[in-house]
Amino acid sequence: MEASDFLPLLVAIPFLGSILALLPSPRARNIEAWLGGSVTLCALLIVVFLYPAVENGDVVKRTIEWVPALGLSVTLRMDGFAWLFSVLITGIGFLVVIYARYYMSPDDPVSRFYALLLAFMGAMLGLVVSGHLIMLAVFWELTSVFSFLLIGYWHHNQAARDGARIALTITGTGGLCLLLGMILLGQMAGSYDLDAVLAAGDIIRSHALYVPTLLLILAGALTKSAQFPFHFWLPNAMAAPTPVSAYLHSATMVKAGVFLLTRFWPVLSGTPEWFTIVGIAGLTTLLLGAYFAIFQQDLKGLLAYSTISHLGLITALLSFGSPLSLVAAIFHMMNHATFKASLFMAAGIIDHETGTRDMRRLSGLFTAMPYTATLAIIASAAMAGVPLLNGFLSKEMFFAQALEEHQRSFLDSSAPYVATLAGAFAVAYSVRFIHNVFFGPKAANLPKQPHEPPALMRRPIELLVIACVIVGVIPGLSVGPFLHTAVVSVLGEQTPTYSLSVWHGFNIPLLMSTIAMVAGFALYWALRNYLRTCEEGPPYFRRLQGQRIFERVLVTVSWRWARAVEGVLATRKLQPQMRLLVLTALLAGVWAMWGTRDVLPALTVHGLDPVLGALWAIGAFCAVSAAYQAKYHRLAALILMSGTGLATCLSFVWLSAPDLAVTQLLVEIVTTVLILLGLRWLPKREEARAAVDQTTRLRRHRDFFLAAGSGLGAAVLAYFTMLTPRPPSVGDFYLEHAYSQGGGTNVVNVILVDFRGFDTMGEIVVLAVVGLTVFALLRRFRPAEDTAETPYQQREQDQFDDLRRDREVGETLKDYLLVPSVIMRWMFPVVVLLAAYLFIRGHDLPGGGFAAGVAMAIGFLLQYLAGGARWVEERLRILPVRWIGSGLLVAVLTGLGSFLFGYPFLTSYFQYTELPFIGKMPTASAMLFDLGVFSLVVGATVLMLIAIAHQSLRVRARPRQADGGQG
């Protein structure tokens, strides 16, 4: 196996472990810990094994193509910097897994915990070894999602739910910005491949889109790394179990932001925009975080703000833009991860053993747990930057870099003072952490009697603290080579010479450290009594909580503004909505046509055909009258509407569209019958002669102008389009190839069943869905009470039949319809033949599945009209749903058939065959598809008509249940 083969394995192992972790019983702590431990150890070993491959600035890369046409691939890429992070992720992950075994209570469902923790580890590893920008953004969001789930692990707890929600909202939004930024970055560099982007630094920095891209990427990085003003999600995330805080919220996830800044440092940094934005964010966060940390009463809160402050320090270092400050930044990322993870674990032990994290209640624990206390003291000293510990080294480097001049600005000149002040604050909160918790009078009234934790729970802390000391004493020998590998992989030839020694002689950074140390001690001493009792949160800032502002913003945006917009735009009435819709369409049309007047051809009356003109005079009269009559004279309106339909149909005949004419004529018939069936269920409406009031008249005027405007717009658009010559159309292709490739001379039909068969497939599915919907809606239908009665004429006739002894009910109706019904019955075979004819000739001459289907449906319909629903159904079993089903099945199977011959879906095959009596006939597989269309159209049409026709029967069967049923 090559080194690159291990990369997919490295990312996959934690996810696999995550799935495995869900298998044992939820409370099996030992099995889970063994599983988690072996998975993380495995990953750690892979990482260690990969070191030689990245040692000399080399890169291990593995690309698995995914959608090459879109430039999407799964690219895993490990260089020295990614390696360093992988060590942190797997190493600290391993320690956290062990620690969590003892931290989690036997009552907690640990399987979920370990599954999430391992999945998070996988996402984080994926993030650091991503070699593709989009993939990086995806893993980035995954870390946010798992962080959300882990913070909300104790979801019965309100604080946990809130904290999780806030964290997800902020980091998730940041992640979306990052995705946009990554896309822009990829567009500028011409590739989403990380190597290509890293090589395109100059192009990107001088690109017009540099600033927006920078802002988007910073939005992602700064939210993730909890930088001011997005910092507040981190303290709220402390509701998570402490192992989660130690792992995600100190060592790994919050480092993703600074990881990203470092990753793209060679590409994005060095500009004034970078220095200003990143610098302000970093220095502000550094100072405020440290200041806020002093006044926290919650142990984890103090550590959270301290984390924010240290992340600010790293961000500030990255903003400086000099290679040396980058070295310091990477170094501090490692150091901070080590001492902060151990401090969180110590805080977890204190919480675990005493039952509280409130520093007002904790005191004098040194005697109860001297061993843990010693470890915590060393780690805090590292946090404060005490010499001979790792924190001191990177902090000295920071001080030295703060003194350097980078870009002449106020920010630059204030950096050393901010750094020293923040250093003093850091000393103050570190001292407070130790003095407050471990020294002083022995605490009374603790929820539990404190004692040392199990040895294995302490072991992770020991290892981390030992690392702090070793790095602090012999930095060059311990981490030197690894740090160098990481730095070289980011900086390449720019790598500066730097020394990791502990003693640099008496210099200004040392002086700054000393000042910070003394001032910090003094500050704590001055505040110590106040801090013993004070409320949580720093004075003056207590009321100014980021969380509260965030909630208020959310409420405003998602509730108040949404309501306001709804109040203005939304109405439950249909008419204003329709009006708005029509008006918008009209304005859009006018806007599009505006300014095109010069290019339009002149209006001519030339070539006006008198017959067509007369036809449309009638058609237009029908349309306008239908519009006028639709309120009071429904039947008249229906007849007039059909008149317009006929005019349309004749126009199709006239204008070379025989297929449309046939279909339109047939559909016109079923539509008319359908609406006739529906008319019976509408309320009686007497024409009111009363004067209309002012508002109604105004509304009608407005609607009239809207209608006239729309009509005029449509007419003008249609007219001028028709006068301009037709550009080359895809229709020409169809004309040329209909016969040679589709085997039919009726091009419209060939398009429908062959060239665009897939579209037709969608359309018949719509038809089927509508048919079933109509059927379903009517199954539960209860008519309004005033229409439940049988109509007046029918009552009259039935009464007449009832009174006469020699007549049966319904006979009068039969007598009336005798002649038409005989004709209609005898028409049935003729109509069936017509449908068959239309179908068979469809491929070559006007006709086809749609027309034939509607014709066939009309055949059935005539039988209903002739004999009534009961009569028909006693003699003829029409199962429309089966027609629909078999139609769909035939169409799909025909389409699938082409797979058998190795062609794509719905490829058609044709040849001419000689049939007895009929002669030469085209047989194309497309005709089989058309058969499906035919069957489905018959089924859907008949289903709709029958469903409505059956209403009368059902109502008669249950005469007086109208008011009791469905509400």
Binding site: M578, G645, L660, Q664, A707, G711, A714, A715
Partner: protein, 112 residues
Amino acid sequence: MELVVAAAIGILTASGVWLILRPRTYQLVIGLALLSYAVNLFIFSMGRLRVNAPPVLEGGGTVDVTAYTDPLPQALVLTAIVIGFATTALFLVVLIVSRGLTGSDHVDGREG
């Protein structure tokens, strides 16, 4: 010819739009039907108007595309006609059901 068809489209559109802005459900059904005539004619007219040039080929061999009208808008309109019937049916049924449930044939389900 073009002028007549354009005027027809305009008048059908106007009648349809007028009706879909009315308060009664039945008016809406008729309005949508008229509007769909207008839209079908409009789409059809985008292939330009030709007399005596139906897109039905005369035998095989090479095809002179200028001898036939554009078949594509026709194919589009053909399915639109059938789907138009389906939507009319759906609207009609919704109308009937809504009338049954609310007791009113107003588009909002209640008067006013």
